[in-house]
Amino acid sequence: MSAEARRHCDQPLPSWVYAVVFLVTLAGSIKTLDVSPILWIDTVFEFDRVEGCLREGACTTRGPRASFEGIYHMVGWLHFWVFLEWLGLDQNGTHVLIQVANSLKIVLVMLVANRVGGGSAGALAPFFAFATGASPGALYDSSLMPFLGAVILVQLVAAAGQRPSSSLVVLAALGSAVVAEFHLAGVLTLVSVIWVVLLHPPDRVRRAKIGVTAFAVAVLVISPNGVISNLIEMPFRVFTLMAGLADGVAPSPAHQLVPFSTRLWRSLAYLFFLVPWALCRLAPSRFGSLHPGLKGALAVSVPLALVFSIGVLLGVFPAYGGYHHYWEHAYPAYAVVCAVPLTALGYALFASLPLALVVSIGALLGVFPLYRGEHDYLVNTLVRAVPLAALGYGLLARFRARFTVPSFLLRPMKPWMIPLSLSLVAAWSPPSPSTPNLHRANVEGLADLLHDDWRWDWTAVTRELRVSYKAILLDYLSTMIPDWQQEEGGIDPLRPHEPLVVIEVDRQRVPDPLPSGWIAVSRGVRFTLLAIPTGSSLDWGSLMTCFVNVRGQETCHGSSNHHNLLRFMDKSVAAEIRSVTRRVPWHGKPGETEKIFLPRRLLLCRGRIESGPPGTRIAEDGQIAYVSEPGDIVFKWTPRTQGCEQWLYWKEDDPFVVAGDPATVDVIRGLIDQGRP
């Protein structure tokens, strides 16, 4: 590509493009994630600490446990949340604020990529910046990490581009302390700061010491107890971990060590995003030199990539899935590291249309299928974008070179239009919640309905509600009405107790008019919460739950706390469970037929309807049954088999079962199957 064409591609993005991308990102985020957060188990225990701080003045300086035994973190996030609550922001308000901040993150990523890679790189960068390993729509310590990562990125790219002032070094170090105190993974941003400071002589070591001191003081102020505890605990934990790995013991029951060849391949996948950068570095005469500011983006993303790569190789991190939320603060930098070199490669390689076509089609057909793994965000986005963006560049370049086009037609054609279109598509449809959790605002409506309007006691609520992730819902309900569990039972309800299926449905798909008896509990921006009496004769109050462990020993529980049996079970005991059986009596009248549906799409651990009384018809996949004779219906789950990973099945405590008259169940099934994932 000629120098003139290169300059044309490097034209900076006009200001209005930033405004458009911000607005589309925010609109896409609100459309996808709503103005209310989803119910999330981490939110419950984190907000419990925030409440304890606000009500009792007991604000932890140690924080809750991290994913690693004996290590504590997240105090900075808890204090920040306390600050927001103190300002008067409730959870819904905080959720919206975080969406605004994370939309701003996209603009910051564009700005940085534009400065170090030109307009086309700036337009392409957002496409990569929507990657996430966290839980979109949930309000917890990882939610704000992408924005914090973008702030660190801005500072370190500026500092890498030219020697930073001491004040910028101190501010960046303080910022990295905040990131580290939001989530443990942020500790690596200190490495990023040191990396960038060491780039610029003179006085490199002295300035690095200043940064480290600022970081140390900040973390000690934010979480003195946590920092000291971790420093005391860390050597012992690392030694234990390494000793275990040396003996071939997996660091936790959540994952097993896989063969070395698999770990090697998976560990290399974490470094895959550096390939375009490496190519540019190897042949700068062909692809053009890279802006020194890019080192700032490398400084943020590479330490994390190396830790994950080495961690997977050693077996500290599982080879498949897990811990990807640790990447949240590094995704903005990752986006810049992808977009800038890719743009340079695009200019050089794809100026030839035939080459562009061959490489693009080859990449689409050959490489993409290799990386379809559910959690391979890093690789997936990269592999999708390379051929599309490159083809776009190539086509545009060839078009401009081959055809004589009137200047008034040519002028609006900017090289950044194609990557921008990719980014806008990504902005309009960002990652959505991977599980169909209810939204908090809708659950507030449910709490009002059950407690204030119907006066159901807690026992009835725990017995009658049929809903996915029931344990989390009950946590929220008990938080919203703190005295509910202590209130005396036996009060005459204003509406008789009856089985109630609770589901959230996209507003556009809510039946209009609602079938008789159905209740629209709450209508959110996108989802409506429906409460549906199904008239089921399954007696969940007489549920018997039995576990069989690896030694074949069976333990049965007939208590009413089925929604917490697995959740509060000792981890070592839970890890040994090989089957879970739930036996529920059906008390239907003679001649009555009830349909039972086990929604597969809503279950993380998929079970099946195992057996029923004589005359029960069960579908081959075990998801549907028709029962017409009184007797016990048996449901069964088999942990540690495909579709029922060990560490997820606790979410199926008191499982979501839809049962009732066949016509009603069919309508509910249709709503669930056509709905969210």
């Binding site: 604000c59 400065r115 581009g161 505890s229 802006h291």
Partner: protein, 54 residues
Amino acid sequence: MTPSVATTILAYVPEYYPTFGAVLVGLGEALVILLGLGYGLRHLLRAPERISSE
């Protein structure tokens, strides 16, 4: 570090902040992030444009 030494050190470290302390820390964090963003942007926008050598 022996457990007794660790316990001694931790005895001098506050286990909890009062609400006001936590609010101050939260406010401080917000200021650090906003100041860092502003200062970083200022430096970034004053840096040389794209064509340069690594």
